[in-house]
């Protein structure tokens, strides 16, 4: 297990680094790869002073002030959503579960849509108004879902999923209503719903980071318990897992991860559903591998989706949520098809 984690982890991190460097060089102003490496090295402490400056000042500005924060945020958001997806799939023991199953996205959307509709985006907290309100309404939704499902000491998985679906549908209807009564030609609510990493900058990335760290820590700690849960709740209980407590904690941590991602970037679909499955196809069902590798590969996935979103129709931006689904769905279909062929022999 540990060797497998090291091997795949090294591969994942190499892929991550390669992706970051490539993505840094791609854009409306192309920066040569050699310059990208140089600028990156220059920002490494100690080594940095020895690197001769051979690139125009503007390249460094574009790379470090515009592209880097956006890439960092993409990696973090991708990791958050993918780890959350793994958590939801593990606890709900349902391969179709994704970070939005319990209505967190719809909850956050209602908060954001409300602010945008009444032009309160910058009231009180400035640039933080939408993220903070979306985060709070997202978490509040989880509370409503848990209350509705009657979760105190113990709960039934099916009831929780149903409650999530019901609350989600209701909140989505509210958002749709707000979109429909809005008389603007370019609807900002719709844009928020489709997700974007544009114009976010470093502050957003630094805000998401602690949530990712905390959520990841919780899920890593429950890795073996999630494995046991895959055998069934009673099997897990008989081996000493406190099933109800574990399910509640993992769902809560996953929801926090989701809410952190959604509140800064809007609803980016498909990442949380597809990444854990992708990793499962590569390394098997072990959550001790699944959770950390989902974080790495989820980050890479969103990074490339966003690179496509900002460059494909440049100078126009494609909404990120559109790209993740547009690229992800066929790729996933291909993987399924290939696995089917492998099983047949």
């Amino acid at each position: 297990m540990k060797r497998k984690l090291l091997a795949w982890g090294a591969f994942g991190l190499a892929l991550l680094l390669g992706s970051v460097v490539l993505s840094l060089s791609i854009g409306s102003a192309a920066i040569p790869l050699a310059d990208v490496w140089g600028i990156l090295l220059k920002h490494v402490p100690l080594v940095g002073d020895a690197v001769p400056v051979t690139w125009p000042e503007s390249s460094e500005q574009i790379m470090m002030k515009v592209r880097m924060p956006r890439i960092a945020l993409g990696l973090l958001v991708g990791a958050c959503l993918s780890v959350a997806g793994a958590g939801f799939q593990g606890v709900l023991r349902n391969p179709l579960a994704d970070p939005y199953t319990l209505g967190v996205a719809s909850g956050a959307s209602v908060g954001a849509a409300f602010l945008i509709q009444f032009e309160l985006q910058f009231a009180l907290l400035g640039m933080w108004t939408v993220p903070v309100v979306a985060f709070l309404t997202g978490i509040a939704t989880l509370w409503v879902v848990f209350r509705l499902a009657g979760v105190q000491g113990r709960f039934r998985t099916e009831t929780v999923i149903l409650a999530g679906v019901v609350v989600s549908a209701f909140l989505s209807a509210i958002v749709s209503f707000m979109v429909s009564v809005s008389n603007k030609v370019i609807n900002e609510i719709l844009y928020w719903l489709m997700g974007s990493l544009a114009m976010r900058g470093w502050p957003y990335a630094t805000v998401v980071l602690p949530y990712l760290a905390a959520g990841l820590a919780v899920l890593l700690a429950y890795g073996r318990s999630l494995n046991l849960l895959a055998l069934g709740e009673r099997h897990a209980a008989h081996l000493g897992v406190r099933v109800d407590r574990m399910k509640r904690n993992v769902l809560f941590a996953s929801t926090i991860l989701t809410a952190a991602a959604v509140s800064v970037c809007g609803v980016i679909g498909f990442v949380g559903l597809i990444t854990p499955h992708l990793v499962r196809l590569m390394v098997g069902p072990d959550y001790r591998l699944l959770v950390p590798l989902s974080a790495v590969f989820g980050g890479v996935y969103v990074l490339w989706a966003d690179t496509l979103a900002r460059t494909a129709l440049s100078p126009m931006e494609i909404p990120l949520g559109v790209v993740t689904a547009f690229v992800g769905a066929p790729f996933f279909a291909y993987l399924l098809w290939r696995q089917k062929k492998l099983l047949k022999g």
């Binding site: 046991l228 009673r234 008989h238 000493g240 406190r242 069902p285």
Partner: protein, 260 residues
């Protein structure tokens, strides 16, 4: 090993267990029998601690069940369930290794040589050739053997069996019960087994406990419990009770209704 006093449990107003008291000695094999809905499985679930009783006390090894932490309990109590393991993508070895969970620290390490222990269990249950196969590719009988191996890896002193042979054919049934019996002899294991099959229960248990409508109607040796009139009263069908020609244990022969 197990002391149960005045245990009661009801679900939604229906009393499933009513004032049940009994004790099981260390090293003993006790069979819990009774018709459908008599409360056998509920009794086992209460003793395993996954469900709490409405009234009464359960003591395991002299200590009240409630005073054990779940993981502490799992270090010496294992349960083998009726439904086999689901067809997950974990390998046989990985699943058997999960039996060590209660002994591992939060990093997943444990003191002592876990790998060797797992190998010994796999060897004992003839699972070595299947060790690297995933559960998806095993038959129901093989998966139940893996479940037994997982329980064995837990190194329990008390084993609870909840109708473990229900979905197995007669070959696998005997194989499973023989393995448990041998294991019990070697390690002086205490076994409490809910069994549907009265003949199997009579062959493998030191004592039987007959439950009916949530109460114990009789507890004693197989010959004391498998009495023709008592069986007729509890199960509503009158069988023939005869001695097994080789082992001498009481065996039930069913009489079809059209003969009367």
């Amino acid at each position: 090993m197990i002391e149960v006093q005045r245990l009661s449990k009801s679900f939604g107003g229906r009393t499933v267990l009513d004032d049940v008291s009994f004790a099981v000695a260390p090293g003993e094999t006790i069979g819990i029998i009774g018709p459908n809905g008599s409360g056998k499985s509920t009794l086992l679930r209460l003793v395993s601690g996954v469900e709490a009783p409405d009234a009464g006390t359960i003591r395991l090894d002299g200590k009240p069940l409630g005073a054990y932490a779940r993981k502490e309990l799992a270090r010496w109590l294992a349960v083998l369930q009726q439904d086999a393991l689901p067809p997950v993508a974990f390998t046989v070895r990985e699943v058997v290794e999960m039996g060590r969970f209660p002994f591992q620290n939060w990093l997943g390490d444990e003191s002592g040589d876990a790998a060797q222990r797992i190998d010994a269990v796999l060897e004992k249950l003839h699972l070595i050739p299947l060790a690297d196969r995933t559960l998806e590719h095993l038959s129901g009988g093989e998966r139940q053997r893996v479940a037994l191996a997982k329980a064995m890896a837990q190194q329990p002193r008390l084993l609870l069996l909840d109708e473990p042979t229900t979905y197995l054919d007669i070959g696998f049934q005997l194989q499973m019960m023989d393995t448990v019996r041998r294991w019990q002899r070697e390690e002086r294991l205490t076994v409490a087994a809910v069994l549907h099959d009265l003949n199997l229960a009579a062959q493998y248990c030191d004592r039987l406990m007959l439950l009916h409508r949530g109460r114990i109607v009789r507890i004693g040796t197989p010959w004391e419990v498998l009495e023709r009139s008592l069986i007729a009263e509890v199960y509503g069908t009158e069988p023939i009770v005869t001695a097994h020609p080789v082992t001498g244990a009481p065996q039930i022969l069913l009489q079809p209704g059209w003969m009367n």
